[in-house]
Each structure stands twice: as C-alpha cells, then as structure tokens.
Amino acid sequence: MDSASFQFVAFGLAVALVSNISRSRGWRSTVLMIASVVFLGLLAHDPILFFPLAGFLALGYAARLLLERGWSKLLVWSLLAVILVYIWLKRYVFLPAGIFLHSPYFTVGLSYIFFRVLHLLIETGDEDGKRHVGPGAYLLYTLNFTTLVSGPIQRYDEFARDQFAVQPIELGPRVIGLQLERIIRGFFKVNVLAMLFNMVWADALAQMPEALPASAKMLAAIELLVVYPLFLYANFSGYIDIVIGLARLMRVRLPENFDRPFSATSFLDFWNRWHITLSTWLKTYVYNPLLLALMRRISSVAAQPFLGVFCFFVTFFLVGVWHGRTSEFLVFGVLLGLGVSVNKLWQVGMAGVLGRKGYKALTKNPFYTAFSRGLTFTWFAATNPLFWGDWEQLHSLFASLSGAHWFLVWLAIWFCASVVLALWEATRGALLSIRTLEGPVLTSRYARVVYASALGLAALVITVLLNQPAPGIVYKAF
C-alpha cells in the first residue's frame, strides 16, 4: 500500500467515493481521518510501532500550542527540538548508534510530516500567522494518507482552504475524467515506464565491472547516468500524479510537484520544476530568512548578488542532505549547492559583462538554450550516483573507467541531451500547435481518452497479467 500499486489506487478511489456521499466538511474530514488511520494500519499492523511517530506528532502539537498561547520566544527552541528528534528518529549516521531506539518502529512519511510540523510552528511563531489548529485538524493535516508517503508538501492554509470549506470545490464529470486520466498516467509512469528505465539502469550497472572494451563501458556509463534521472522522474512524478488525482476526487487540491523538469534551461530553473514543494519550502523558510538576515548585516550593494549565491548554496546543500542519512548525501548536497550557486554566479557574471539586456538576449538564443538545457540535465544526472550508491559502489563504478573516459562520457551526455531535449521541445511545440477552437488537439478530451485507454491497458497488462509487483517509490525512503 505504500507504493503506486493497484491496491493503493483502488483504496484511494474507494475513499474518494465514500467521501463524496456528503459535501459536509464534517463528513469529508471523518472519512479522511478514518481512511488515513486504516492506511497506517495497512502499512504496519502492530500499534507499538507507531509510538515514536505519535511522540513526534505530540511534540509538534505541544510546541504549536505553546506558541499559540504567546510563548513566541520558544519558537527557536521548539524548532530545534523538532529537528533534533527528527534526526534521532531517522537515525542519522553521524550520531552515536548507542542513542538510537533499538526496537523497530514506523518511519514511513516522517520526513514529510517533519516539514508540515515545522511549517506549522514557523507560521504560528510569526505574529501575523496565529490561528488555532485543533488536534483533529492537526492530525488530519499531518497524517493525510494522500500526502503521507512521499508528499507533496502542502501548506496548512491550502489544505484547510479545501478540506474545511463549507462549500467544497466542484467535482463535475469533466474534472473526474481529468483526474482519472491523471491517475492512469501516473500509474503507467510508475509501473511501466519507471520499471523499464530501472531495467536498463540495472543492466548498465551490471556491465560496468565486466571486462568489456572501453567503448562498450562508456556506452554503459552513459546509459547508467542518463537513465536514472528518467527513472526517478517517472517513479516520483507518477506517484504524485496518482495522489494529486485521488485528492482532487476528494475535493482537495494538492500542490504540483513537477513541471517538466527536463525542459529547464538552468539548474536554478530545474529546481523550480523538480520536487517543487520541497524547494519552495526551503526557499521560504531557509533561503529568504537567511538572505534577509545577511542583507541586514552586510549593507554593501556590490556584495548583495553574492549573498544570494551563498544563500542558494546553503539552501540546496540542505535539499541534498535531507535526502539521506549518510555521508554520501553530504556530498550530494554540496554538488546540488554548487550547481545552483555556480549557476547564480554565472548569471551575475554574464549580466555584468553583457548587461542585463544582453544577457536576456543571450538566454533567448536557441543554441544557448539547448546547450544550457543539456548541461542542466547532465549536471543533475552526474550527481545522481550519490543518490543511489554507497562509497564502495561509487568507487568501483568510477574505477571502471579512466578520468579521460569519464570526461568523454560527460561530454557525450551533454551533447546528446542538448540535441534530444531540443528535438523533444520542438516536437512538443509543433504537436501542441495543432489546435481546434477548444484548444490543442492533443490535450482535448478525445485525445486524453485515447492515451488514457492505451496507457491503462499497458499498465494493466504489466501489473495484472504478468503479475508484476508495483515498484517501490524511491522518495518514500527519505
């Protein structure tokens, strides 16, 4: 049930159906609460396993109550307490093993609950943001089964706006059709596309230690690096498509988490399109306050762009670190931080050299755009081995080719990604330009029915007839 399985989709659709028996917020909230509890029960059967999670939620709620009652000075301490307990429960490897709980306990979704709890505390600590959140609403928000496993990270005000609305948002046949199509698309992405990408990736990984000619190994290395981001995208965005569709059928709009990330023409742009809710959260609660604080201390106008560079580094270093508990993720964070900060430096530098208008004109140049897009993809692809491998695997992987060969691999990916993604963008633009009075033909309801039927059939054949188990959602581990 913690994957994009047929059972999970069936469960979500059943809950949506029951939820729509009445439009009253009491009924919808009760159904969501019962569904979330049942969902947790299906993930782990022993109630004892939930004690640490319950303690974490209780800590967050108690801190929130204190802040609500005017103990604003406790904000920093309560944030620190929540962060430390989170790190302790997640068993970060830099902490001594002796202090951890040794009995097994439930941690699925803890990272996403963590962000929701921190968000509530910060918003409560903010003088303008005080509003009472009862224990029922708090549990509903933090344990909502549609966002529990892998997000998206929704703000409380957005959740409350839809969930507790006296007049819930409309749900007509057109919206239902769109959501069903989205659920099928997501199911296909996770169960077919991601599975196929994973196969190619596993094949390429198996080839790396083999005694093959350097050209064959370089080809395998290209496959290995290129396919993993595609796998990750299909796996994560597919799951998000499913939960957004299910939540919408329950009259709740979840925030988008992806916006065609491989169309991004810079690494900064990439993070506006990939795991949007995570990067937005960190920009809101880390980047902005840090930049403001630094600008208050350093008044030099000339230094201001570089403060932004530094803040971007810190923010995206944290994005990387959040993904895992081991030292590999520290380096992953450094590489992400470097990606965005060098990107920002480049923007600042080029604007200085060419002037703002000149730089803007450059970014409109199709060749510049294509190679920037390719470079963005390549950098992300190159950081990914730290995402899936441990030091031993990484050492054996990188030792399998010489430095010069890896450089050639990197160049080849950059060039191919630039060409392929440019072609993809051009094709997409051309296809979407075929229009009727109602809009592009490809996004018409007739076209949607065609590809939803096709994708649904393919997914059904793979999952039911071939008895393929649903692959795990990579981001549930974080």
Binding site: P173, R174, M199, R260, R445, V450, A454, V461, L466, P469
Partner: protein, 412 residues
C-alpha cells in the same frame, strides 16, 4: 504532453460536456484498447511466430498406467515460444534418439539418459542438445567411443513416469543410467489414471497441452470450462498466456535477472522447492520422489547398471547462485542437498552442477527467458560441465587421466 493542473480552472468553468460525448468517449476508449491489443498481438506474433504442430503430436498420453511415451518412428514439429521451430524425430522404440534401442555397437560405452523435458532436449534441435554434445565431449576426453541414448520424455517425465518406463529403459542396453533432473521434475504432479493431474490438479491433460475446449463446444461452454475450478485472475492469466503478447512482454521484462527471480519466487510449484523451508505439499512431493528413486535405483542395481542423477538448476536457481544473493526465505541449494541424500542413500551417484554457476556471470543466457528450458547455449554449457564431472573419477569406467577434482567435491 500536458501542463499539470494548468487546465483545471478552465475545466471547472466548463461544467457540462456535450451529450454525444457520453457515448463517444467510451467508444473511443474501447476502440483504442482493441486496436492497441490487436497491434501488440500482431507485433508479438511476428516476433514469436506460431508454429503448427506440437511435440504432443508424437506422444501417447492416454495410458497413464504406462506413462507417457513416444509414437514409434514419428516425426513432428514444435518448439518453445521464443525459440525456432524444432523437429522431433522418434526412433522405432518411440524415443528421441538416432540410436537403436535394441542393439549397440560392441566396445561402445552407452549412457542412457532418462528424465523429462530438459533431458529430452525440448525446444532445441537434436544436434544441439547435451544428449548429442555430451558423448562427443566425453569421447574426446577419454579417447574411446561413448554414446548417449535419449530415453527421456518431454513434459510428462516426472519421477513417477520415469519409474513406470524404467523396465524399457533397462532394455536399451545401458552401461550407465543418467537421470537429468530439474526442479520441475520433482515439483510436477504425476499423471493419474483418469488422465488428469494428481491431487490438486484441476488442470486436465488437454489443458496442459494447450488443447482445451472441443471444437464442437460453443464459445460459452469454452469460457465456462476456462473459469471452472480457478480464480478469475488465474483464468485470465491462463487465457492471456495463450496470446503472443504476454510471452513477448515477459521476454522483455525477464531480461532483468533480479525481476525474474523475484517473479519466479512469487508463485508456482517449482518456486516452492527453492524455499529455505519446504511446505507440507513440497515435502509430499519430495517423498514421492524418494519412493520413485528407490524403485529406480533398486531396478538399476539388480541389473548391475551404475546409476547417476544430476540436478540441472532452473533459470531462477542459476541466477541466484550466480549473483550470490536470493530473496529472503529462498535457498537455491536446499533442493540439491535433499536430492543428494535421497540418491546416495539408494547407492546412486549424485552430481551437483550448481557450484559451477557461481563463476558464470550471466547463466540466464543459457535458458529461454519465458519458457525456462535450456536453449542451445545452455545445452552446450551443461554438456561441458557434465563431461568434466563424469570423467573426474566419480564414475570409474569414465575416469580420464589427469582430471581436476570435480566441483561438487570442493563443497559449496
């Protein structure tokens, strides 16, 4: 192709869809599904063509008391889904062998192979089977003529069926009996007198051979026959298994060795025998195997013919051993250990090929990925391993000078 959520507001405003779309949209969906399914089946059929004929055309299957047997001098064609068309030629005794069953050349050492489809060389041309390759390998190593008479029977050669045929096996003048075993031989049910599979066997012989449903039966009767006695998903799987689409997709998916192992271990009677703890049903099957083996070994000993049994790992076993890892609750070696104790207890020799697979990086290449039988590469591989083992001194009559210790004596 869509901007997520971008059209939601627009869609919210357009509350109604035209009435005609309530009919048109489902029809478009249905048409898409039919076209896609048809096109995929067409492509799959081009990739894996259907062959006329079947090995069953040369088999007598309606005499369970005697076991399945070949029709003398019969020639038929068949093959596995992802293989090429293969000719099966039976000699005058109804065995897939070029050799004569009643006579053998003086001075020739004759090995008689018994077993089921793997030993029979199912799906592989006769000259590519280890039945043909093994005697060549051994003859080369020994410098004397060794021949192999293939007395195995495709599909229906469970241990019980082998024991039913064993008197005729002994009549083929063997100097050595070689039982080529696979997991499936232990797992599959013996064929009973009513022509159906044993205790749990709701599957009829006709269903096994893919000939369910008489030509005079109506479509409804055929559908009923498919669904009686099994769950709807099982029936759907069984029906879809007769398409070319499913094997086509399986062939694609099972290139991923870990996925194959995981799927294999999720179901099927063969998978039960690769568990670290045997179920009661598996134990029953091993006990049946034990009884049949005791009977065969007793007859063999009475005839003064040495008896050798070999376990050919199936594709999942081979992959697990090669990778050195397997899903929790599995053990690719356990069945081999049980069979070794059963065979050696009765005075036979047991050869375990499994340790060889530890040093083979991609042993799955030796198997048809969907069907699971050994392909020609796998047959050649097994012939080499077998020749090494058999000439290592385990069988005194076949001992070659200066051979290394066999793998099975080196332990796991």
């Amino acid at each position: 192709m869509t901007l997520p959520g971008s059209n939601e507001l627009k869609e919210l405003k357009e509350a109604r869809i035209p009435r005609r779309d309530w009919i048109l949209l489902p029809l478009i969906g249905l048409l898409t599904i039919c076209l896609l399914a048809g096109a995929t089946e067409l492509i799959a059929t081009l990739r894996f063509p259907r062959y006329k004929g079947h090995v069953e055309d040369c088999l007598v299957l309606d005499q369970p008391a005697r076991g399945a047997r070949g029709i003398p001098n019969c020639r038929c064609w068949g093959g596995v889904v992802e293989g090429s068309r293969v000719e099966y030629k039976f000699n005058r005794c109804g065995d897939r062998s070029e050799l004569d069953c009643d006579t053998k050349e003086p001075g020739t050492y004759r090995i008689v192979a018994i077993g089921a489809s793997q030993a029979f060389g199912y799906g592989v041309a006769s000259e590519e089977t280890f039945d043909d390759l093994l005697p060549l390998e051994i003859s080369q190593r020994l410098g004397r003529k060794v021949e192999l008479y293939n007395d195995a029977m495709a599909r229906y050669g469970t241990s019980h069926a082998v024991s039913l045929r064993f008197k005729e096996t002994l009549a083929t003048h063997p100097d050595l009996i070689l039982w080529m075993l696979s997991t499936h031989d232990v797992a599959s049910e013996p064929i009973t007198a009513d022509g159906a599979k044993g205790a749990s066997g709701a599957v009829s012989m006709a269903a096994v051979s893919g000939k369910t449903g008489g030509s005079h039966a109506g479509i409804w009767e055929q559908i009923k026959a498919e669904f009686v006695g099994r769950s709807i998903p099982d029936a759907v799987r069984e029906l879809s298994g007769r398409t070319r689409t499913v094997p086509f997709l399986e062939n694609l998916l099972y290139r991923d060795r870990k996925r194959y192992v995981r799927n294999f271990m999720m179901g099927g009677v063969d998978a039960q025998l690769l568990k670290s703890q045997f179920s009661a049903e598996s134990e029953k099957k091993v006990e049946q195997f034990d009884r049949d083996t005791a009977d065969i070994e007793a007859q063999s000993a009475a005839a003064g013919v040495p008896f050798v049994a070999v376990l050919l790992p199936n594709r999942a076993q081979a992959v697990m051993i090669s990778m050195g890892e397997w899903p929790a609750g599995s053990d690719p070696y356990k069945l081999g250990e049980r069979l070794r104790s059963i065979v050696t207890r009765g005075g036979g020799i047991f050869i375990d090929l499994q340790p060889y697979y530890r040093s083979i990086p991609n042993p799955e290449r030796g198997y048809f990925s969907v069907d699971g039988h050994l392909n020609s590469e796998g047959n050649a591989m097994v012939a080499r391993m077998m020749a090494t083992e058999m000439t290592s001194g385990v069988i005194p009559a076949l001992k070659a000078a200066g051979q290394a210790q066999p793998a099975f004596e080196k332990g796991k």
